[in-house]
Symmetry: C2
Subunit: 235 residues, 2 copies
């Protein structure tokens, strides 16, 4: 217990003076004033991580999609609806940030046309044309103001490690946390299990509350930043 207490004390200020920009929750892409394309993200993982980073002493800017959650103490929150609004809010806060963590389940697609008035029902099959949304993680990782640490989340129904490592490399991320969707895990659940990958390391975080997972993720983030500075001193 004493060791745990000391460890908690030590980590209380481990991110003091650093600022993190996080996204959390789903995005909603409107089809018309009433309907939208959405996804099952509750925002719990992102909000838990924002709170844990703030407890570790970091300044935290949280950009949140539509969720039913309370802002954790010490976290600055900005609410958005769509992927494009989320990207704009993130870019506006990127300058000088130590880390960007994309926890949000950003909608990959949005309707090509958004109707001003409610679409009337007909008996015919409707063709909805969708266009790709901006990739916020890839955009941040390739920005001239790229933070030192860029971390993504991936929800996969199969080939977890291959998919996660593929995204890590393709988007030039430092860390990716992958969770398996289904089997009662991940979306809209208080618990989750994660596999975290860097280019040359991995961490298995077994099923536990998203609050506890968030604490473990902060440890991994601190470790990764420490390693960056060690590497920098060596080179």
């Amino acid at each position: 217990a004493i060791v745990e207490y000391l460890s908690a004390m030590a980590s209380r200020d481990s991110l003091a003076g650093r600022r993190f920009v996080l996204t959390a929750g789903p995005t909603q892409e409107p089809l018309d004033p009433v309907r939208f394309l959405g996804n099952r993200s509750s925002g719990r993982m992102g909000f838990a991580l924002a709170g844990a980073l703030a407890r570790a002493g970091a300044d935290v800017d949280l950009v949140a999609g539509p969720v039913q959650l309370t802002t954790p103490p010490g976290v600055k929150r900005t609410d958005v609806q769509t992927a494009e609004e989320m990207l704009a809010a993130v870019l506006a806060r990127l300058e000088g940030a130590t880390g960007f963590i994309g926890v949000a389940a950003v909608a990959d697609y949005r309707p090509v046309d958004v109707a001003t008035h409610k679409i009337k029902k007909s008996d015919a099959v409707l063709e909805l044309r969708l266009q790709p949304n901006p990739d916020i993680l890839a955009r941040v990782a390739s920005d001239p103001r790229r933070p030192e640490l860029v971390m993504g989340f991936a929800a996969e129904t199969r080939d977890l490690e291959t998919a996660a490592r593929g995204k890590l490399a393709a988007k030039d991320l430092d860390l990716i946390a992958a969770n398996r969707v289904g089997e009662g895990l991940a979306f809209d659940q208080p618990d989750n299990a994660l596999e975290v990958f860097s280019a040359d390391q991995c961490w298995t975080l077994p099923r536990q509350s998203k609050q506890l997972l968030a604490e473990r993720l902060v440890d991994i983030i601190v470790e990764t930043l420490d390693r960056h500075s060690t590497d920098a001193r060596r080179s």
Copy 2:
């Protein structure tokens, strides 16, 4: 105050021995294990009406889409996700019901194909094929077990009365409550304003809490049922 108290007393048992089936909230139509087509209904109006009917002495079966709400006292609740599940739950409870009230914002369309695994993002425009969902209100109103009172809700961005009266006639409803979407009204708001239409009457309910609106709607429902029995005695 005494008059209000007596009125409240009088209405406490005005629906005793009658059973109502209600739907509330949105439906969600899955595209894959993660994504869905949804809408902005919070379920508040339907839950308020279910509670008000129960306070008036009715038995209430509430079929609810995915919402973040507490079941009102005395209400039997069944949770569903899609329009097809909602229809099945309603039909299973229809026999012997005095009234059916469709407050849910049922998705008009669902994807033709539902992917078993998460759809991977590509840079191309995606064509999503949607097919019409069953019309729960029209289906109930044309059922051999049609309840004495069938009531719908309509959310419209324009031509409120024309659209509402059109639905009333086309779907063979007894009552329809119409609300204007936009201007901060209707969806995901604690307040609303309603126009209620029958074939030969209308009621304007100015902006007020959904709880108060629900009490007024119960009065209109009781009045409509009383009129039915008077008409029946006359004919």
